[in-house]
Every structure is written in C-alpha cells, then in structure tokens.
Symmetry: C2
Subunit: 226 residues, 2 copies
DNA sequence: TCTGGTAATCGTCAATCGACGATTCAAGTC
DNA sequence: GACTTGAATCGTCGATTGACGATTACCAGA
C-alpha cells in the first residue's frame, strides 16, 4: 500500500492547480511541521514555506518526489500511523460495515431488528438473507472506484444493501438496475426523501425497498446482534 | 475513473526515476505519436522527444499535467478507448469469477463438482457454502490492491476461495491466516506443488484445503452449473 | 516579558527548465 | 530513388526553479 499512497500523493500534488496547498494538506495530514519536514529533507525551512505559499508555480517532479518520500519516511519512523489510515480507510471508504451471517436470517426478522418500514408492500419478504453491507452512498458515488468494488464484491443475490446518506434514493436503485447481480433487499437509512422512481424500480426488480429511521451507530449495533 | 487515471499517470511519472521513459510508456499506451502529442500541446515535436529522451531530469508538474491531460483528451476525442481499459479491467483484474449461490451448497457436492481432492483429511467438510470466488493469485499479488479488495469484500465465512496460478500455496494461506475474516474453503487450481506449510496452516485454521486438476475454463463451466 | 517553536516574506544567484529550430536517422511507401 | 512520417540530437536563450539566509510575525508557555 505504501506505493499506492506515494503515487496518490504525487499525483494529487502534480495535478493540483495550487501544488503548494496540496503539499500543505499532506504535510498536515502527516502532522509534521515545516521545520521537521525541512530537516528530513536537509533544506532550510523557508524552502518548505515558499513551496506551500505557492512561490514556485511548477515545482519539478524531483522536488515533489522528495517531499512525498520525506513525509512517508517520517511517518514510518513514527510507526506508520498515517499510512495505515490510507490502507484500509481508502479501500473501505464507502463500506461502513459488512458481514456474512453464520446462519441465514429471515427478512422479517431483519426488518424487525432494524425497525424497517417496507416501502414496497407488493414485494414478498419471505426470503432469507446471507449477509449485509452498509454503504456510505455519498462516498460510493464520489469515488467511483468504490462503486466498482461493490459491483463486483458486495452485491450478491442473498444480501441486504443498506445505503446511508441517501438524498432521493434514485442513484442507488439505478445502479442496481444497471447491474446483473442484484441484492435481495435494499435499505435506505434516514433518506431525505424517497423518490417515486426509486420505489417503482424496486418493484420492477422485485426487490423489497426498506426505510429505517435508526441512526447509523444504533443501526450498526442492532445489526451486530444478528 | 477519468480522475483516477489522471492521478495515476501523473503520480507514476512524478515518481519515476526516468520520467521520460514513463511518459513514453503512457504515450505508447495511448497509441499517439510524438507529433500528434506535440500538436495537441501546441509545441514542437522535439520538445516531446527531449522529454522522453530524458533531457529534462525533473520536469515541472505543470508540464507533466499538460502531457497527461493531452493524452487523455486525445483518447477521449477518439472515443475513450484506452480509458475504458483502466476502469473495469483494473478492478476486476484478479477476480476471474464470483458468485453467490441462491441456495446453499454442501461442501461435499462442491468437491464432487470440481473433482477436488481434499489435502486436509482431518478437517471436516460437512459445512455449507454460500458462494465462491475464483482468483488469479499472480495478479492478486502483483497488484496489491486486489488483495485488499478481497480482504474486505471477497472473503467471508461461508464461501470458497479458489486460487489459480499457485506455485507452492504458501502466500494465499499466509494471507488468509493474517486476516480475521476466513473463507470456509480454499481450493488450489492446478498448483505446481503444495507446500507442507500450506497444509499445516489450513489445518490450524480448520479450513479444508482442496486441490483440483481441472483447467480454468472447465472449472468455471462446472461452477456455473451449481 | 522573554523565549522557543512555527510559519511567512523576500532578495539573490546558480542551475535547470521549457521551448524552438535546424539537422540527422530510420522505415516505409509511392 | 524521392518522399512522407516518426523519432533523436543538440545549440541556444529567456524564464523559472531550487535553495539560502535574513527578517518579520504570531502564538503559547515559563
């Protein structure tokens, strides 16, 4: 993952309109002072300040590389704390919780547990669930990646997909509709509103669409008991 | 994904010891001539050649950005063919097949279907499976990413993990051992050899370790019937 | 109030970049 | 053999970077 992070940092800085600000952002992420960074790089602290202030509009890639590596090295010397964040955190960015049940769970029980309200009364809820995935839909959408992960790993015929941060509930259903592998159940956690279209799509797909008003920590806790 | 690719390209170029070669690599990926690229950038072709030849040891990030954007723009104008490669291909790189069963499958049936030989006779195989994932272990290892995806999405207590391209079978078991979430069964498809350590680890974890001699297409076909 | 840690600003200068254009090669292909 | 097309090499030159050090400014504590 080290390489990944290095590349991301370098890429971000290189593409930034204000590389200085991006450098600063990362330096702050790593909780390193300009001085410490300067020491690690064996340059004067003013150099760092100049970069961050944007005095150089297009620093050379060697400079960028040196800065990135210095930050990562400093972090490693201090235990690699920051890097760890960007390992799991990034990959799992959009996934808040995930679990496979050791024994199948009835949808009706699942509903009771999360205090869910069925928005699609026509759809049968007599099936079983093998597991669930709780997804931060904002993050899933902004980092398209995550959506792709989900497409491949997280969506399966026998699990509940729980979306948090839902506005109208259209995008998740559209994504589901576009994909061959369907979840057995879709849950919106405290949606602002649930669009008609979302309900209609769920009915077409024959997937029960559930709304719950539990907040995330409570929801997670309840789910853990299953 | 566009942003992702941009960042990756910029990052790679920025971190490269020979940025010129990396620029060339990408230009060739995009199947663009130096001249076309130069035209897109509105500079003389010799400029590109100079960069690729390494005449500038540390090009400024603005230059890098311009080159990256030019390549992507050219690709987009031509239909975005190259970019598409870097979308799904990359994410799914290591996953050859994946499926959740609609109904549980007994391990013994699973074994019969794939003509599997149990290398761990002590371990019980009376459990059920919810699904399986077929993984190209070479790709999974070289692109560390994929291994991380798996950690989070693909590994679950009730599924079979099928590894292809196995040399000694140590790495997959070690990775499994290191991770809290365990598969219910591990299958090696035509391993060159199966190391003692791998078997021992499987026993410790109480995960049946299976060997199959089916080749990949046949294996997939059989699995599809489940 | 003084001090130490952190950061900003700026003048300066050698080194390097960014770009051009002229020239030379290497392969096709007409 | 003449003619494109793609690429390499290099001298040149103005513009910018990379780095320093001096100076200033802003806190938070002792």
């Amino acid at each position: 993952m080290r390489e990944q992070l290095r590349e991301k940092m370098a890429g971000e800085i290189a593409l930034s309109d204000e590389p200085g600000k991006t450098i600063r952002k990362w330096r702050e992420q790593f909780k390193v002072s300009q001085q410490d960074l300067a020491r690690q790089l064996d340059v004067s602290p003013s150099v760092i300040s100049d970069y961050e202030a944007g005095r150089r509009k297009s620093p050379g890639i060697v400079t960028v590389k040196r800065i990135v590596d210095a930050l990562i090295s400093l972090d490693e010397m201090a235990g690699g704390h920051v890097m760890k964040q960007y390992t799991l955190a990034n990959v799992a960015e959009a996934v808040i919780a995930i679990k496979e049940f050791s024994e199948d769970v009835l949808m009706t029980n699942f509903l009771k547990t999360i205090e869910g309200e069925n928005l699609t009364p026509q759809v049968q809820i007599d099936r079983h669930l093998h597991g669930y995935t709780v997804i931060d839909s904002i993050k899933a959408i902004t980092s398209l990646d995550s959506f792709d992960y989900l497409k491949i790993y997280g969506w399966s015929s026998q699990r509940a997909l729980i979306f948090t941060g839902v506005k109208f509930g259209r995008s998740p259903m559209i994504a589901i509709r576009a994909h061959p592998l369907k979840p057995a159940m879709v849950v919106y956690q405290r949606p602002e509103k649930v669009d008609e279209l979302a309900v209609k799509l769920a009915e077409i797909e024959n997937i029960p669409l559930i709304r719950t008003s539990l907040d995330i920590p409570v929801l997670i806790e309840r789910l853990n008991k299953l």
